[in-house]
Every structure is written in structure tokens, then in C-alpha cells.
Point group: C2
Chain length 313, copies 2
């Protein structure tokens, strides 16, 4: 088989992939300098591993039988057609994303963000910091979404006896199902955690009215997609004027966040720079998943995480 | 009753105490400038609320019938004698302490300490940070101690499916009971969390040999007492030379940590400046606990959290 690998893997991971694909022809995009040679290799490939850009590349590669995306989300391929079977990473990033957003929340509550800056300055404040700390225990949390990240967040929060309410259109245990119900529930929430994928239905879903309905101490957290907010400026305004308690943002409308962006200056805000899915063994894990699916593909078995590219999620 | 209040409470908490002690004579130490007048008020008091310093003050006040300490630990009163009944705050600080140490661990694993410093500099790094991140899920944790903090830490970690081993002399579920057993178990631990009180038995309990037995990626965390380490310099050495993965220290041998102290410069280290017990409602909570015990005291009922001062814990 001709396998085209679009993701720039580190050398040890490449070695893993070589070892696991003996007899196949492996082409790594990042080992080819010339763009037309890259495209040619893609056009002749049977299998694609990775997320080619621009997205039209995927549509051009009509020889592909199977595409293993190296991501969970794939909304940017919406409208792209391919005859290939397409698989994604499904819940691969759920645990790291859940841990990042809870780490951010706990940092705000226990002052770790401030202590990290103080450490940098060798500056001891000590006792007076205590009055600014809070507990995660028993907090009332609204989780937007009911997918893998949402479930992992809920599992972690169970260790803190949080009261959790899901907002989701169809999940059986979601009490909040409409934007109107969400608006009504927000004034009582201590924490809102958005774990929604990027779709046409989630774009701008969290409105300025919703931000304004949050209580003064509440935290807004987003581990999903940056376009969830109707107006990111309204969040900046709420943070700058202490209309809400703080924010944990793994994603923002613009990434990388420009140096002059107002979010850098917002108090009580954690910016985790779209690393929520990160993990020291992230690349090895993705490669192992591919090799496992490859083995199924060769045997004609069902692949894991088959998606419909046009569905958007 | 004459009640002497040693703890410097904020005005709203003082108002709470006044409201809850109608008919009693309340004296707040921080409202008296003259030290001899302060001492006199203490000597005539029936009830003391707070932790007088120097510790000999407690021994001088022989008229006291009841002392409510505003702390959990009381090792610094060791050797002090008083005819009064003494109560402490027992598990009052367990949840905040447990949350602080887990917040520190999660920050190191998910990079929140680094993102906090980067935010301060409006500096986006993004994707390359991912390879430095880790997961708390499934980590092997040794918890030193089996008291209230240790139990709360274990409860929180249950949400991450961590493998937990307790080190404690007598707790029924502690597998590690001797320093030798601890030394033997350390090479397999991802995280060591010290939740031990300050006693003659815990002083210097964590030896340099133990630090040296920890694995390269392991975290050392201390939410107990700063004198647990046989040699804090050995920890500094391990951190500076990347012999261990990092540290979360709420307590240190010297507090406040002097500006020139080597710990400020140690990489992958969270210094939470002895705020582990902190909480926005900390003072109100302590005052409510006192008022509740006061009501029992007046009725002749048993008090909560009676301790033996001489036992040291």
C-alpha cells in the first residue's frame, strides 16, 4: 500500500510507523521539499494519515481508499467530498482536554496562576492571598455538550461533589436543551464549561445575553471551539469590569492570539493556548491508533471511529 | 463570660462574633494597642479564641476554662501546660489543602504555571507546549499520612483513576508502614504527596535517600509541614538537576521564603506560600465553628475537636 503521512511526526514516532508498516510504501510530507512532489505523492496514495491543507487537497486525492485524520474535530473539511472511508481520533483528546480545563479552574480557585507569577518574581505574599481563594467542592457547574470531553469533565468533578447540569440538545441526561433554558439556568451557575465541537449549530451559540446572565463570581471556560461566543468582546468586557469571576480559555476566536489582544490583559483568566489535547505521548498514541486501524483495514475488518465528513461532526 | 479573641478577624466577622455572644464580654486583641493591657485581658478571660504568641502566654492564662485554637496543627505549643479544655479546627482545612495540592499537580501536568507566566508577557507559544504536558489519569501516587487531608486528596484523585498507596504507621489501609517500605516503593511512584502533621516523628522523616529513590519524572508535593524533609537542599538539588520531575510545596523549612532562597529558581516548582488552607469564607467558617462550640460549652455539652495539647497532634 502507498501511505501518505501529512502530520509532521518526530523521528522516534516515524521509526514506529516504519516498523509497523513493513511492505508498505511510506511517504512523509515533511521529508519532501517540493510542493508539487508532495501533491503527487498524495494523489497516488491509497491511504492518507493526517489532515492535509488546504482542505481541497483531500478532494483532489481521488485514489484514496482510507483517510485517518490526526484530529477529533474536522469541521474545516465541511463541503469536501472524498470517496475514501474517513476515520478520526474520536475521544483521543477527551481526557487531556478535560484535565486542562479543570486544571485551569483549580488554578483560579487556589491561586496557582498568581503564585506562578509571584514565583517568577521571587515575591512572597503569603497569608493575605488566602482571602482570594475558593473551593471547587460543591460548586454548581453547567457543562455545555455531552460528548467525550463533557463526560470526562463530569467524571473528574465527581471527586469534588459538584452539582452538574448538562446543556445538550438530545442527550438523555441533559436537563437544559434550549438556549432559553440555558439563559434561565445561568444566574445560579458557579462555573460554565463549554465542551462543544465546532459546527454551524454551535457557532455563536453562547450569546452576549448569556454572559450577562452569569453571576459575578462565575467562571466561563471553553475547551471546545473559539467561535462558540457570539461576541468575544463581550467576554473581555465582563472580565475587565469584574462582571464575572474569571475565565479558562483553551480556544479563542483568533489563534494564535495577537500580542495586542485584550484577552492577554484580562484578570483571572487562564489562556492555555489551544494545548488542551496535548500530552507527552500524544504523537506515539496517534501513531499507535493509526497502526491499529491499518491492521484492521488490511484484513477488511471494520475501522474504528468512522465519520461522515459532510456531517461536520 | 469573658472571651478573649487573639485572631485578627475582619470587621464583618467581628460583627458575627458580637451578634453570637450577647451577654458575654468580648475582647479583641487587635483592638488593644498596649501589650500589657492585652496580657491582662487574656489573664482574666474565661475563654480564649485563637493562638496566642509567644506560646508561654497560654500557660500564664491560668483562669482559662476553654481554649478554641484557630488552627488544626498545634505542635508549637508542645510542652505548654494549661488547665483549660483545648479544641482545634481538626478537618477544617482538609478540603482547601487537598484542592491546593491537586491544583498544583494539575498545573505542572497541564502547563498552567507556564501559561500564567506567558500570559503575563502576552506571549503565545501554542503547539510546541503540548509535548511538555502530561496526564494525571492513572498516575501512581504515594500519599504520606492517612488523616483528613490525605483522605480528601485520595477522594479527589479517585476521579482520575489514580493508583493510591498510603504510607502511615497504623491506618488499616496503609500498605507502607515503615520508612524502609517507603524507600522501596518510591522508584515506582509518579507522585508523592506529603500530608503529615508536624510532630517529633515526622520531622526529617522524608530523607535525602528517599528523594534520590524517586524517578526522574516524579513529583514531590508537601501540604503538611516544612520540616518533613531531612534536607531541603537535597530537594533543591534534585529539582535543579532534573533528577525529579517537579514539586508542589505549600510549606517550606523557612517561611516566608527569603528572596534569595534557591527554591524560587527551581524549575517545575509550584510555591503556594502556605495558603493551602485558604478560602474566601475561611474566617467566617472559623467564627461559626467557635460560636457553635461556645453554645455547647455554655450548655455543658461535649465540645467538638477536643485535643491533648501535650500530645503534639
Amino acid at each position: 500500500m502507498k501511505i501518505y503521512i501529512d502530520t509532521p511526526f518526530q523521528a522516534p514516532v516515524k521509526a514506529m510507523l516504519h516498523a509497523g508498516t513493513k511492505g508498505d510504501e511510506l511517504v512523509f510530507k515533511d521529508e519532501i521539499e517540493d510542493e508539487s512532489v508532495q501533491l503527487n505523492a498524495l494523489l497516488y496514495a491509497d491511504i492518507l494519515f493526517g489532515n492535509p491543507l488546504p482542505v481541497e487537497r483531500l478532494q483532489q486525492a481521488t485514489n484514496l481508499k482510507w483517510v485517518q485524520l490526526a484530529s477529533t474535530g474536522f469541521e474545516y473539511y465541511s463541503g469536501i467530498k472524498t470517496p475514501a472511508l474517513v476515520t478520526n481520533l474520536n475521544d483521543y483528546y477527551a481526557q487531556p482536554c478535560a484535565e486542562t480545563v479543570v486544571a485551569g479552574i483549580m488554578s483560579l480557585y487556589r491561586g496557582i496562576d498568581r503564585f506562578s507569577v509571584l514565583k517568577n518574581e521571587a515575591h512572597w505574599v503569603g497569608y493575605p492571598m488566602r482571602a482570594g481563594l475558593q473551593l471547587l467542592k460543591h460548586k454548581k457547574v453547567i457543562i455545555l455538550g455531552s460528548g467525550n470531553i463533557a463526560r470526562q469533565v463530569a467524571k473528574i468533578l465527581s471527586g469534588f461533589d459538584c452539582g452538574i447540569t448538562f446543556f445538550a440538545r438530545t442527550a438523555p441526561d441533559a436537563i437544559l436543551r434550549t438556549p432559553e433554558q440555558l439563559v434561565g439556568a445561568l444566574p445560579k451557575a458557579d462555573i460554565v464549561i463549554a465542551c462543544l465541537p465546532g459546527t454551524t449549530q454551535t457557532k455563536g451559540l453562547f450569546t452576549t445575553a448569556m454572559i450577562q446572565n452569569m453571576k459575578e463570581s462565575a467562571l466561563f471556560c471553553n475547551i471546545g471551539r473559539g467561535n462558540l461566543l457570539e461576541d468575544e468582546g463581550a467576554l473581555v468586557d465582563a472580565l475587565m469590569n469584574k462582571k464575572i469571576g474569571g475565565a479558562v480559555l483553551d480556544v479563542t476566536a483568533t489563534e494564535p492570539l495577537p500580542r495586542e489582544h485584550a484577552l492577554w490583559k484580562c484578570p483571572n483568566t487562564i489562556l492555555s493556548q489551544h494545548t488542551g489535547g496535548g500530552n507527552i505521548t500524544e504523537q506515539e498514541g496517534i501513531a499507535l491508533f493509526f497502526l491499529d486501524n491499518l491492521s484492521s483495514f488490511k484484513k477488511g475488518y471494520a475501522l474504528k471511529n468512522v465519520i461522515q465528513l459532510e456531517k461536520g461532526y
